[in-house]
Amino acid sequence: MSSEDALRQSWPPLRLTAPALVALGFLVIPLVAVVLRVPWSSFVSDLASTGARNALWLSLVTSSISAGLCLLFGVPLAWLLARTQFRGRSLLRAAVTLPLVLPPVVGGVALLLAFGREGLIGRWLDTWFGVTIPFTAAAVVLAQTFVALPFLVISVEGAFRASDERYDDAAATLGASRWLTFRRVTLPLAMPGVFSGAVLSWARALGEFGATITFAGNFPGTTRTMPTEVYLALNSDPGSAIALSMVLILVSIVVLSLLRERWLTGVSV
């Protein structure tokens, strides 16, 4: 046994393990509490109710579209941040990360003021095309994309930075255009980061509540997503709220295990 192994296997100091256990308990106990309170006898009927089915379906569809939009627009933005030099780039990065720390309700208010019927851009959408966004499923997607996009951009930008830029240079030397280099070299190398970014942004979109209820409102089948359903069910039918929470916890666990598998095995596509 080497001395490093011996060091690793000795009892860890209490001043580290004690707070670590507190942290662990704090994170895990509330979830265990949900599991313990799930009304298993009515679990299936709670989930089969029209309201729950509509909300689950709407959540799955909108968060998938949001994750798609994040990929479509976020990957190019991440590339811009990682591979180009221009003045004000750090300012741009700060602007991109802002929604990450912004309270989602504030995001919802901002979206209303931008894309609402009387909003900065929404006003013209209404006048020119007769399109109004609030209270539609499109508003749900916008709200989710707004909060989820930074997750994807940060994750993918990190992956672009971590992959060796000399491969890009080699491709350029061989005569590849920047677009071809991006498509055949940069993107494939960053694929694990793109994958985990997509999953993270999808999960964030699935859990979105504050911006959604502020900007998109709440109507069954159009804008009432799972988190809103849970929030409202808690007022009228706590059992059903717990059952719905259980489903969201299960989905999150599946997502995390997908991510871990990718990270641990380091598979790149």
């Binding site: 209490l14 001043r15 004690a18 209303l112 609402g116 019927r117 009387e118 109004t132 609030p134 209270f135 209820i213 998109a216 409102g217 709440n218 109507f219 069954p220 804008t223 009432r224 929030y231 409202l232 808690l234 007022n235 009228s236 706590p238």
Partner: protein, 249 residues
């Protein structure tokens, strides 16, 4: 082995946690009131009156949907008094023996349609709501249950665009111009002033909402809770309520 430094920081962290929850630096005793959103203006004024009369008391009011507030108290939220826009939210608390005495009715309210000042959809009656972008409260809140009844009485079968979590959110969607109309309490319409135009709902189609108040059992502020309810039902309290558009008795 835990060094003294660790102790100090742990104690400090705990102290900070408690200081935060006890609203640090204020030696006044605290009276916590949970109130339906539609009571915002009235309770704001009564808070002033109460604190003027009882300088040693800091009144803290939390507004929300009646059902949410009742649920929070059932879950152990530290409220001394709860005032709701319906009887139902309180009756579950009464059944659970969480209240000092039976809930007391102290005011009534009715609903009105509000539109943005320019009334883009030219709404002059509830029946005009069909085909417009209108919003109401979620039926789990008293204002939503009432609004659904008004729509039914008026023969409006069109769906609202959104079921907002409480009455102030409905008002916000209208004042921001995002909805053509909303159904709120007449008192909210009055409080919003020039930000909205109120369209009265005729009495035969309208509903009357009763407001109830009760003191919560086993709180440290029992005397102040009783005094708050006394103020609310006093002549002064009633005049604040009528000024705001509520009915009393």
């Amino acid at each position: 082995m835990i060094g003294p430094g660790w102790h100090t920081s742990a104690v400090l962290a705990l102290c900070m946690t408690f200081a935060l929850s006890a609203c640090s630096g204020d030696s006044r005793t605290k009276l916590t009131v949970f109130a339906a959103s539609s009571l915002t203006e009235v309770f704001g004024r009564l808070e002033q009156t109460y604190e003027d009369r009882h300088p040693g008391v800091d009144v803290v009011i939390s507004y929300g949907s009646s059902s949410t507030l009742a649920d929070q108290i059932a879950q152990g939220a530290p409220a001394d008094v709860i005032a709701t826009a319906d009887e139902q939210s309180l009756s579950s608390l009464a059944r659970a023996e969480a209240l000092v005495a039976a809930p007391q009715r102290f005011a009534t309210n009715t609903l009105a349609v509000v539109t943005p000042p320019d009334n883009p959809a030219e709404i002059t009656a509830v029946a005009d709501l069909t085909g417009t972008d209108f919003v109401i409260c979620d039926p789990s809140a008293p204002c939503g249950a009432g609004a659904e009844e008004v729509l039914r009485h008026s023969g409006v079968t069109a769906d609202p665009k959104s079921l907002e979590p409480d009455v102030k959110s409905v008002l916000a969607k209208v004042t921001l111009g995002e909805a053509d109309a909303g159904i709120v309490y007449v008192t909210d319409a009055q409080a919003a002033g020039d930000d909205v135009v109120a369209v009265a709902i005729d009495a035969e189609h309208n509903v009357i909402n009763s407001y109830f108040v009760a003191a919560v059992r086993d709180t440290s502020g029992a005397d102040d809770a009783a005094a708050w309810i006394a103020l609310l039902t006093s002549r002064a309290g009633r005049s604040v309520l009528t000024d705001a558009g509520f009915g009393v008795r």
